[in-house]
C-alpha cells in the first residue's frame, strides 16, 4: 500500500509527515516528508512497495537490494557531498523505510524535457565533473561500489546549480529466462555493453553510462544502446558542440572497457580540460582530452572536494558480487596543487589565481571546501535593483539556524538560507510572487548571492510587473554566471520596461552565447524594430527564419517591417507566408487584412479579418479591424455589428466607441 499525502511515519530518529511523492520505480517510491520536530526541514523517504504482480523472487531481490542500500548508507560510513545523506531507517506496518537527505531541484531528465533541446555544453561539463567526483569516491571503496543505474533522471541539479547523484524508486529487476511481452528497454539505454551482455561489470561500466548520459544531454537524442557514436554524429544534432567534448563522450562510450577512460578521475580530468578549452576559445589548442590513453593508472590531478557542508551520505549503489574480479580503483595522486576550480561556481581559473575570475569567490589552496554562507568576500555585491532595507526584518522572521549540523542525527539539516531558497521555490510554484521576492531577499541577506537566487528573484519581480527591478536581478545573475537563459530573461525584462537600448545590449550578448538561437534573433529584431532601426530588424528576422524556417512570428514581424516602410505588397506577401507556416495564427490574418486595407482591397481584407476573428474569437482589436473593413466596403450594418461585438469584448475600447459614433 503506497503512502498518502499527510501520512505520518515514526522513525527511530524522528517523526515525518509525507508531503508529496517525488518519484516511483517498479518496486518502490520516494516521497518528500517534513520533519515534525523541525518544521520546514524536509527529508526524502524511500519505501519498498509490495507488488502483487511481482514474483516472490523479484520481491526478495528488491528487498535484499534495499537492505544492502540501507546498510551501505547507515553502517559503512559512506559520505560524499554529492550524494544524499543518511537520516533514518525503520519498519512501520511491515513496510521498510529509508530516510535520506532531501535534495531539492530538478533532475536532468526533467530539465531536458522542459528545454526540448540540447543542454548547454558548459553546464553539462560542470555537472558531469561533479558526478565524476562522486563516482570516483564510490569506485574507490573497497570493494568498489558500482552505481550501474546512472542516467539523467538520477542526477539532480539543486537550486544552487550543483549536481547530485540520486536514485528515485527501486528498479524492477529484469527477469531472465522467462518469455515476456515486448517491453521498453527504458533506462537500459544508458547501460554498458558488459551490463547488458554477459561480462562482469566494473567501474568502467559507470563511465560508459556517464558518457551515454552526456550524449543525451548534449544532443537531446537518446543514445542508441551499445553504440559508440562516430565522430561528428553528436555535432549533427548540436553543431555548436566542441570537438573536444564530443571526443570525450566517444571515449567514454567505447564498447571495449579497456578503451574507455579507466577511472572516473581520469574522465573528470578530461572533462575539466574540455571546460577549460571552452573558456579559452582564443587559443585553438589541438590538445583534445587525451588524458585517458594511459591505462588504469590514474595520473589524475588532485581531488578537489566540491563545496557543500553538512552532507554525509549514501547511495543507490550495488557492490559487485565478485569484487575480486573488478579492476582496482586507480589511486589518485595526492600531489599538492593550487585549487583552480572555483568552489562556488565551478569556473576553471588559471593556475595560481587567488580569486575566481567569474564570481570573485576567493580560491584557496588545498582541499578545504568553502562554506558558502560565511564566505566573507561575498558580501559586497553591486546589486542595487531594489532596497536592501527589508533584510533586518527578514532576518527577524527567520531566526538563524546553525549552518552546520547540531547533532549527528541532524546531519544535512537545512540552513536558513537554504530554507528560504526552498520556500521561494515553493512560493514560485504557488505563484505567490511577493513571497518569492521576500524569501530571495532573505537568502541574499544570508550570503546566498547565487545565480539561481537572482534568477528566481528576477522571475518573481517580472511576474509582478516590476520589470526594471527584474532586469537588475537578471543582470546580477548574468554577472555571476552568463548563461543564455539569464541573458535572455534580462533582455526581455529591459524590453518590457521600455529600456530598449539595454535590451539590445542584452540580446546581442545572448547571441554571442548562442548564435543558433532563433528566439534571440527574433527578440533582437523586435527591439530594433521598436527603435525604428528597420534594416537591422529585417536582418534579425531573416536570421531567425533561417534558424527556424517555420517561425511564423518572425515572418509576421518581417511583414511589419515592410509595412512600416509602406511596402504594403511585400508586407501582404510576408503575412501570407506566415499563414502558410501557421494557418492558425489570428495575428497573421489580422495583419494581412490591414495590409489589404492599405492596398485598397477591402473585400480581401474583410475575408482576412473574418478568418482572424474565427481563430481568435475574443479579440476586440480584430473586431474593430473587421468593422473598419466592412465600413470600407460600405456595409454599415455589418460594420456596426462588429464594432458592437468589440465593445462587448472590451467595453473600454475607445476606437470601437469612436467609430460607432461616426457610423
Amino acid at each position: 500500500m503506497a503512502l498518502q499525502i499527510g501520512d505520518m511515519l515514526n522513525g527511530r530518529y524522528g517523526r515525518y509527515r509525507i508531503v508529496r511523492r517525488l518519484g516511483e520505480g517498479g518496486m518502490g517510491s520516494v516521497y518528500q516528508a517534513e520533519d515534525l520536530a523541525h518544521p520546514g526541514v524536509y527529508w526524502a523517504v524511500k519505501e519498498l512497495l509490495d507488488d502483487s504482480t511481482a514474483s516472490p523472487e523479484d520481491v526478495e531481490w528488491a528487498r535484499d537490494r534495499f537492505e544492502a542500500e540501507i546498510k551501505l548508507m547507515r553502517d559503512e560510513g559512506l559520505h560524499h557531498p554529492r550524494m544524499p545523506a543518511y537520516r533514518d531507517d525503520f519498519v512501520q506496518g511491515q513496510h521498510r523505510f529509508l530516510v535520506m537527505e532531501y535534495i531539492p531541484g530538478t533532475n536532468l531528465e526533467e530539465r531536458q524535457e522542459r528545454l526540448h533541446g540540447p543542454l548547454p555544453e558548459r553546464e553539462v561539463l560542470r555537472w558531469m565533473i561533479d558526478i565524476c567526483d562522486v563516482l570516483d569516491y564510490l569506485h574507490r571503496q573497497k570493494p568498489p561500489i558500482i552505481v550501474r543505474d546512472l542516467k539523467p533522471a538520477n542526477i539532480m541539479i539543486t537550486p544552487d546549480d550543483e549536481a547530485r547523484l540520486i536514485d528515485f524508486g527501486i528498479a524492477r529487476r529484469y527477469k531472465p529466462g522467462q518469455r515476456t511481452n515486448t517491453e521498453n528497454l527504458g533506462t537500459m539505454t544508458y547501460a554498458s555493453p558488459e551490463h547488458l551482455g554477459r561480462t562482469q561489470t566494473d567501474q568502467r561500466s559507470d563511465i560508459y553510462s556517464l558518457g551515454a548520459t552526456m550524449y543525451h544531454l548534449l544532443t537531446n537524442h537518446e543514445p542508441t544502446p551499445l553504440e559508440t557514436p562516430f565522430t561528428g554524429k553528436m555535432r549533427q544534432y548540436q553543431s555548436m558542440l566542441s570537438a573536444n567534448t564530443e571526443a570525450a563522450v566517444i571515449q567514454a562510450m567505447q564498447i571495449d572497457p579497456a578503451r574507455r577512460f579507466q577511472s572516473a578521475a581520469q574522465m573528470r580530468d578530461a572533462l575539466r580540460q574540455c571546460l577549460q578549452l571552452l573558456d579559452r576559445p582564443a587559443q585553438p589548442s589541438k590538445a583534445a582530452p587525451k588524458a585517458a590513453t594511459t591505462r588504469g593508472n590514474g595520473n589524475a590531478a588532485p581531488v578537489v572536494l566540491p563545496r557543500g557542508a553538512a552532507a554525509t551520505v549514501v547511495t543507490p549503489a550495488v557492490r559487485p558480487a565478485k569484487p575480486a574480479s573488478a579492476a582496482p580503483a586507480p589511486a589518485a595522486s595526492s600531489m599538492p596543487q593550487m585549487d583552480t576550480i572555483c568552489p562556488h561556481c565551478g569556473f576553471v581559473n588559471r593556475q595560481g589565481a587567488r580569486f575566481c575570475a567569474q564570481d570573485g569567490t576567493p580560491l584557496r589552496p588545498g582541499l578545504v571546501p568553502a562554506t558558502p554562507a560565511s564566505a566573507p568576500g561575498v558580501g559586497a555585491r553591486s546589486y542595487t535593483g531594489y532596497g536592501a532595507g527589508t533584510t533586518p526584518a527578514a532576518r527577524a522572521a527567520y531566526p538563524m539556524q546553525a549552518a552546520t549540523a547540531t547533532s549527528p542525527s541532524l546531519a544535512g539539516a537545512v540552513t536558513t538560507a537554504e530554507l528560504s531558497i526552498q520556500k521561494a521555490n515553493e512560493a514560485f510554484l504557488a505563484r505567490q510572487y511577493q513571497r518569492v521576492v521576500h524569501e530571495c531577499e532573505v537568502a541574499i541577506s544570508q550570503g546566498r548571492q547565487t545565480y539561481d537566487v537572482y534568477l528566481l528573484l528576477g522571475r518573481a519581480l517580472s511576474e509582478q510587473g516590476r520589470q526594471q527591478e527584474a532586469a537588475a536581478a537578471f543582470a546580477e545573475a548574468v554577472r555571476l554566471r552568463p548563461t543564455l537563459e539569464a541573458v535572455k530573461l534580462e533582455g526581455a525584462a529591459w524590453q518590457n520596461s521600455g529600456q530598449l537600448n539595454q535590451a539590445q545590449i542584452a540580446y546581442t550578448r545572448a547571441r554571442q552565447l548562442d548564435p543558433q538561437d532563433a528566439e534571440v534573433s527574433y527578440h533582437l529584431g523586435q527591439v530594433c524594430y521598436d527603435l525604428r532601426q528597420f534594416a537591422q530588424a529585417e536582418g534579425e528576422f531573416e536570421a531567425a527564419l533561417k534558424l527556424r524556417p517555420n517561425y511564423a512570428d518572425a515572418q509576421i514581424a518581417l511583414g511589419r517591417v515592410q509595412a512600416a516602410r509602406g511596402h504594403w505588397d511585400a508586407a501582404a506577401e510576408a503575412y501570407q507566408r506566415a499563414i502558410s507556416m501557421d494557418p492558425k495564427s489570428g495575428t497573421a490574418y489580422l495583419e494581412l487584412g490591414n495590409a489589404q486595407l492599405a492596398l485598397q482591397r477591402p473585400r480581401d481584407a474583410v475575408r482576412s479579418f473574418e478568418q482572424a476573428a474565427k481563430l481568435t474569437p475574443d479579440s476586440d482589436v480584430i473586431q474593430v479591424a473587421l468593422g473598419m473593413g466592412w465600413h470600407a466596403i460600405g456595409n454599415r450594418k455589418k460594420a456596426k455589428l462588429a464594432l458592437q461585438r468589440a465593445q462587448e469584448i472590451n467595453p473600454g475600447n475607445a476606437e470601437a466607441k469612436r467609430l460607432l459614433k461616426q457610423l
Binding site: G177, N184, L196, L226
Partner: protein, 304 residues
C-alpha cells in the same frame, strides 16, 4: 508495364496468450491501372488491454494520415497544394532550392482551384512520400501518448510498427521497434528493416551471435517505440523499387521468432496465393510454440 498488387493479412492470438495485442491493416487502390497501397503491422505494449489500444491507435492514425495519398491522381504523381505543410524534421527540405516553389504561384493557384496539384520531380517525390510516412508515424506516436495522458490506467502504453506505402513500383518502408518487413526477390528473402531491440544491438556489438537472438532472455526489450510516454520518435525509412515477382512480408516478432527466415522463405516461395501463405505462416508459428501473438501482412507484385 504497371505492377499489380495482391495482398492478404492475418492475425492470430497464438498459443500462450489470452488476448491479441497486435493490429494490422491493408488497403489497395487502383487508379489508371496503377496500384497503390498501405500495409501496416503493429504490436502493442502495456498491461490491462492497453497494448491492444496502442496498436489499434497506431494502425488507425497511420492509415488515415496516408489515405489521401491513394486518392485519384493523374499518371504522374502530384502533390496537393492545400493542406498541411511539412513540419518537424523537414528542415532540410525547406532549404533545398529544388524543393521550394515561389509562394506567389502557390497562393494564386490556391485561390483559383482548391484541387490544384503540381507535378514534381522524382527525387522530390521520394522525399515527399518518405516524409509523409514519417509524419504519419510521428502522429501515431503523439496520439498514443495523448491516450495515455487521458487514461491513467493505460499510462505508458506503446506499440511497435512496421509499415509499407506502395505507390506504383515505389515502396516506402518504415520501422520502429522489432516488427519487421522482409523483401522476397528472385526467391531470396532478405530483411529490409533493422530491429530497434537490445538483442539486435548485442549482435551488432559482437556480444552475441545472431542465432542467439531467438532464445536470448532479453529478446523482448526494444529501445524505440511509438508512445510509451515519449511523443518524439525516430523512424527508420527505407525505399525500394519493386519489380514483378517481388513480395513484401510485414510481421511482428510473434512470427519471426517462431518461424526462422529460411522457413518463411520457402513457404512464400511455395505458396503463391497470399491468403494461403499467411495461413500457413501462422500455422507454422503456432506449431513452433505460438508464444506470442502472430500477425502477418503479405503483398505480392505481379505484372498487371
Amino acid at each position: 508495364m504497371p505492377l499489380h498488387l495482391m495482398a492478404a493479412s492475418k492475425s492470430d492470438v497464438g498459443r500462450q496468450r489470452e488476448q491479441n495485442e497486435d493490429a494490422c491493416y491493408m488497403h489497395i487502390v487502383v487508379n489508371d491501372q496503377k496500384s497503390s497501397g498501405i500495409f501496416i503491422v503493429a504490436d502493442g505494449m502495456g498491461g490491462y488491454h492497453a497494448g491492444e489500444i496502442a496498436s489499434q491507435i497506431a494502425v488507425n492514425t497511420i492509415s488515415s494520415a496516408l489515405q489521401n495519398i491513394l486518392g485519384p491522381t493523374s499518371s504522374q504523381p502530384t502533390i496537393r497544394l492545400k493542406g498541411k505543410r511539412q513540419r518537424g524534421r523537414g528542415n532540410q527540405a525547406n532549404t533545398d532550392p529544388a524543393k521550394t516553389r515561389p509562394l506567389s504561384t502557390e497562393l494564386a493557384s490556391e485561390e483559383n482551384d482548391a484541387n490544384a496539384t503540381l507535378q514534381l520531380g522524382e527525387s522530390f517525390i521520394l522525399e515527399h512520400y518518405s516524409e509523409r510516412l514519417r509524419q504519419a508515424i510521428e502522429e501515431a506516436s503523439e496520439a498514443i501518448v495523448k491516450y495515455g495522458e487521458d487514461h491513467r490506467e493505460a499510462k505508458g502504453l506503446g506499440s511497435t510498427v512496421t509499415a509499407a506505402l506502395v505507390i506504383g513500383d515505389q515502396a516506402f518502408i518504415a520501422n520502429v521497434g522489432d516488427s519487421r518487413t522482409y523483401l522476397l526477390r528472385d526467391g531470396k528473402l532478405t530483411r529490409v528493416t533493422t530491429d530497434h531491440s537490445l538483442v539486435e544491438r548485442l549482435v551488432e556489438a559482437g556480444q552475441i551471435d545472431r542465432e542467439e537472438v531467438y532464445d536470448h532472455p532479453s529478446r523482448n526489450l526494444i529501445y524505440r517505440s511509438l508512445g510509451a510516454g515519449k511523443s518524439e520518435v525516430e523512424v527508420d525509412i527505407f525505399t525500394e523499387k519493386l519489380r514483378a515477382g517481388d513480395a513484401l512480408l510485414l510481421c511482428c516478432d510473434g512470427l519471426w521468432e517462431m518461424v526462422k527466415d529460411a522457413q518463411m522463405e520457402s513457404i512464400i516461395n511455395e505458396v503463391q496465393d497470399p491468403v494461403e501463405a499467411c495461413d500457413l505462416l501462422i500455422q507454422r508459428a503456432n506449431e513452433n510454440g505460438g508464444e506470442d501473438n502472430i500477425t502477418v501482412v503479405l503483398l505480392r507484385c505481379v505484372e498487371g
